[in-house]
């Protein structure tokens, strides 16, 4: 998908900011928040300038026990079509089950059984999408008791068996290191980093020894250090800042993109 450069998550609240920021290489839009037939004008402006837009799904639940919903896949496909996207991204997560919605991305049990189900789910998704799919590692507050594989091993197997691309979220790796004691650098070592489509960077807040990946604060140095580590192992096609609420000024966001570029250049 070529060189995307440094980007930012497009959100309606910061649409004009995203248009004004210098050197934006690409943006992401939350797929569930747009109608392909009625795209926000700001996204059309960015597309008109040739800025790539990646539909980023949060509701598919490809890590769930049910086969992916054709309507949700159709929506992702329509978003990719309307936006001229070259890739669609989602998460290695489940979001519903037993008739209940989690309203958030939850980690999957990393067993061989679950892997076989999710391999099939990913293949179903890939067959429905007009462009490649990338899956993101998630932030977790808990692990499953019967995990047989690490998240990096699990994603590596998915890549090998389905050809799915990776969206590596270094803030999520940091979150899991703080919350679950999982070594983020070991995860980078184990991931097939040459299959990385792009990277997420975000900030959060620590409370009582737990890191909450809120996307509402400046990414801590530890997260940027992980970005540097990743860039030492591969040259990711793109790196994107996620900021979801409590939006700061344009100047602050520009400064954060500068910090990201700095971390990439230190590799």
């Amino acid at each position: 998908m070529g060189d995307l450069g440094v980007g930012i998550g497009w959100r309606p609240e910061i649409d004009l900011t995203v248009e004004r920021l210098d050197g934006i290489g690409f943006v992401e839009v939350i797929a569930e928040n747009v109608e392909p037939a009625r795209l926000p004008e700001s996204l059309a402006v960015l597309r008109g300038r040739g800025v790539p837009v990646v539909p980023h799904g949060v509701g598919l639940g490809v890590g769930g026990a049910d086969r992916p919903d054709p309507d949700r896949l159709g929506h992702l496909a329509a978003c990719a079509g309307a936006l001229g996207s070259t890739i669609v991204s989602e998460h290695l997560a489940f979001v519903r089950g037993g008739g209940m919605e989690a309203g958030h991305l939850l980690p999957v049990p990393r067993t061989r059984d679950a892997l076989s189900v999710i391999v099939e789910n990913v293949r179903i998704a890939q067959e429905s999408l007009p462009v490649p799919l990338a899956l993101e590692n998630v932030a977790a507050l808990f692990g499953w008791p019967d995990d047989e594989l690490t998240e990096a091993q699990f994603l590596g197997e998915l890549v090998e068996r389905t050809g799915v691309k990776l969206l590596v979220d270094v803030a999520n790796l940091y979150t899991n290191e703080v919350n679950l004691g999982l070594d983020a650098r070991a995860a980078l070592d184990a991931l097939p980093v040459d299959e990385v489509a792009y990277v997420h960077v975000a900030g959060g807040h620590g409370h009582g020894g737990i890191w909450h990946d809120t996307h509402t604060a400046s990414p801590p140095r530890e997260v940027l250090d992980l970005l540097t580590e990743l860039c030492g192992r591969t040259s990711p096609p793109g790196v994107l800042l996620e900021w979801d609420d409590a939006y700061p000024s344009d100047a602050v966001l520009a400064g954060e993109l500068g910090r990201i570029r700095g971390a990439m250049s230190r590799a």
């Binding site: 769930g64 026990a65 049910d66 489940f94 519903r96 089950g97 037993g98 008739g99 209940m100 919605e101 989690a102 309203g103 958030h104 939850l106 049990p109 067993t111 061989r112 059984d113 679950a114 892997l115 076989s116 189900v117 099939e120 507050l141 808990f142 692990g143 499953w144 008791p145 019967d146 047989e148 919350n179 737990i210 909450h212 609420d245």
Partner: protein, 106 residues
């Protein structure tokens, strides 16, 4: 464990995920083997995210409840999963729950 495929694997994944979700969003027991405290932290975090979404789609309701909003929403959400239709349906169900509560029905 050797890898099973097909319906057996789906059924066992479905059962595990449904049990965990019941603990996270419907007030069910924490399934065996999980860190109970962390599951509670996750459950609180899901309610916080959900209440933030409801406050965004129903700002008048959030203003009316003021400082009580968070506590009342947590009480409502403790045993009621988020409706599949999304935050507007959640806000409507919360408003109904409040009305029933005020009428002495709860």
């Amino acid at each position: 464990m050797p890898e099973r495929t097909g319906d057996d694997a789906r059924a066992s994944l479905a059962a595990g995920q449904a049990q965990l979700l019941a603990a996270l969003v419907a007030g069910g027991p924490v399934p065996e083997g999980f860190d109970a405290e962390r599951v509670r932290v996750q459950a609180r975090s899901l309610v916080a995210k959900r209440s933030g979404s409801v406050a965004r789609v129903a700002p008048a309701l959030a203003r009316r409840l003021g400082a009580e909003f968070g506590r009342l929403f947590a009480e409502y959400a403790a045993t009621r999963p988020k409706p599949g239709e999304g935050s507007r349906a959640d806000a409507a169900a919360f408003a109904d729950w409040l009305a029933a509560r005020d009428a002495g029905g709860i």
